[in-house]
């Protein structure tokens, strides 16, 4: 059986969902990040000087873009799939001959597309404040894509396991946001000392932000190969775990 039509239907449905509510999904990151660039980059950054040879404004642009990609790809899948579960319209997919990988690919694609669109919006806003010439297009785009994929998968798992609306806000608020801020968005990990540097290096988001920063402005605190290995490794693990949850029907079937 050809599942491309089912996949296409699901992806279009997911895109229509976040486009229909664009004031909630696409507009807020534009405003929030414009404020970040204005306050941290322009007003405070002007007094900080350079980090690893880059102006502070240039230094924070990649981190802020990728932080938006992370939070929006995650938020899209977790809210969409949990609502589908909550309203029981997941049954439309479970009854139909749609294999688990199509369900996963459909929702994750929605998250990736929203994450990348928000990333693009934030990147366009950053052009008002910084004058960035892309260092390596392939690394920039591939790292944005892989990061969006990883956090879409994480959002999917959160939605499958969530039993209430509280459960879908705990991880973004108490884990994802702190890890993003501590992932070197606003500072170089080399500025930390001792145990804090070691702890920071255990944060996988640090590797994604630095690899993306390397792609955009050519500055990094970590090995690019290691960053790809960590991101790819997490994607594989989360993908198989998501498929396992769907196969067992955990959180969606009795």
């Amino acid at each position: 059986m050809n599942y491309s039509i089912a996949l296409k239907t699901l992806v279009i449905k997911e895109i229509s969902r976040f486009v229909r509510i664009w004031p909630q999904t696409l507009l807020p990151p534009a405003i929030t990040t414009a404020l970040y660039f204005l306050i941290f980059g322009k007003l405070i950054g002007g007094r900080i000087g350079t980090i690893n040879g880059a102006s502070y404004m240039d230094y924070i642009v990649p981190g802020i873009i990728l932080m938006s990609v992370i939070s929006h790809s995650y938020a899209n899948v977790v809210s969409s799939f949990y609502s589908t579960k909550f309203q029981r319209n997941i049954e439309e997919l479970l009854v139909a001959p749609v294999p688990n990988w199509v369900i996963l690919a459909g929702y994750v694609s929605g998250g990736i597309i929203r994450g990348l669109l928000v990333g693009l919006v934030v990147a366009l806003i950053s052009l008002l404040f910084a004058d960035i010439v892309v260092n390596n297009v392939l690394i920039t785009l591939s790292m944005a894509l892989l990061t969006a994929t990883l956090f879409s998968l994480a959002g999917f798992i959160n939605a499958v396991l969530a039993e209430s609306f509280d459960d879908i806000s705990i991880i973004p608020n108490f884990i994802l946001t702190p890890l993003s801020y501590l992932g070197g968005v606003f500072y170089s990990v080399e500025m930390l000392e001792g145990v804090w540097k070691t702890i920071s290096r255990a944060n996988p988001i640090l590797y994604m932000i630095n690899a993306f920063r390397y792609g955009l402005i050519g500055v990094t605190d970590v090995s690019i190969q290691l960053a790809y290995m960590i991101t790819g490794g997490f994607i594989v693990v989360l993908m198989f775990f998501s498929l396992f949850l769907l196969h067992k029907g955990i959180g969606i079937k009795n």
Binding site: I5, R88, E91, E92, L94, V95, A96, P97
Partner: protein
């Protein structure tokens, strides 16, 4: 060919509740089949397993010869489900709900549009195609679910209490629609609490209680088993005393209304002769309760008495 074959199907939930205790069931192609049972009997669990919404503990289900475990896609392609409760996205339009479902079943866009139009017109919802579904009435929402279930032209349609909570006019129009769909060749399995609905629509019936099939036969044979009919008689005048007529059990339920249990071997002629002899004038009569309801209660009650 059987539209549905269930063998030794068991389901035990995580809390230990055994909802199905190894049921076997066959539904022939083209049938209009009633699956009845009291609340908590196991029919929703059975339907959930057939439609892949519930994982079975053991046993097998095949739909038009396709095993639900080993030939899942083909089995699912033959099935359409109208669930008990509204389960579509209430922020979507009527048309998008139906057309998306067509997409999940792999219908190309052009065919999906044609089938959506056909089904919405059949359900008298074409004028509402661009309406956001949460703005629809309860009856319309149920019809949207029927249109959605039929968009891929399933060979087996399961209707889980499709007329619950709708008014009598809509219910009767839905009966006509269900009959028309069945006459076009679609096998229908109906669960309902309106036993009159099952009696008038279905040819075969299974009654499930406490996780077991307690009856599985054709409707005519089942109804033929009724030995006693209960009638309500409207009298022209009130009576001083309730008449005593041998073989009949007569009760007064209002001043001019009697309830009479009529054994089949005695019939109504003898009753009316005796009432005339007592100088009692009957204006009209009607069945006290639906015949199937009577049998249903007998079967379910005898089963629970046996279980105790």
């Amino acid at each position: 060919m059987n539209a549905l074959s269930i063998r030794k199907l068991r389901k035990t939930y995580n809390n230990g509740f055994e909802a199905l205790k190894g049921i076997n069931l066959d539904v022939e192609e083209g049938d209009f089949f009633a699956l009845l049972g009291p609340n908590g009997a196991g029919k929703s669990t059975a339907i959930g397993i057939i439609s892949s919404l519930v994982n079975e503990s053991s046993g097998s289900v095949s739909i038009f010869g396709h095993d639900l475990k080993t030939d899942r896609s083909r089995a699912k392609s033959c099935l359409g489900l109208v669930p008990q409760e509204v389960n579509f996205n209430q922020f979507d339009t009527v048309k998008s709900i139906v057309i998306n479902q067509a997409g999940y079943y792999g219908l190309p866009r052009k065919l999906a549009l044609q089938r959506t139009e056909h089904c919405l017109k059949q359900m008298d919802l074409w004028d509402k195609r661009d309406t956001v579904s949460r703005r629809l009435s309860g009856g319309m929402k149920r019809r949207v679910m029927i249109a959605r279930a039929m968009v891929h032209a399933p060979k087996l349609l399961i209707l889980d209490e499709p007329t619950a909570g709708v008014d009598i006019e809509i219910r009767r129009s839905m009966w006509k629609m269900m009959e028309a769909v069945n006459q076009e060749g679609t096998t229908i399995i109906l669960t309902t609490h309106y036993l009159e609905e099952a009696e008038s629509l279905c040819r075969n019936i299974a009654i499930i209680d406490q996780g077991l099939i307690v009856e599985n036969t054709d409707m005519a044979s089942l109804l033929a088993r009724l030995h006693v009919d209960h009638f309500i008689l409207d009298l022209a005048e009130s009576l001083a005393n309730v008449p005593v007529i041998a073989g009949y059990q007569i009760e007064r339920i209002a001043e001019k209304i009697l309830s009479v249990a009529v054994p089949k071997e005695l019939g109504l002629n003898q009753l009316f002769s005796q009432l005339s002899a007592h100088n009692i004038k009957v204006i009209s009569l009607k069945n006290k309760s639906n015949r199937l309801e009577q049998l249903f209660m007998d079967l379910v009650e005898s089963k629970s008495t046996g279980a105790e």
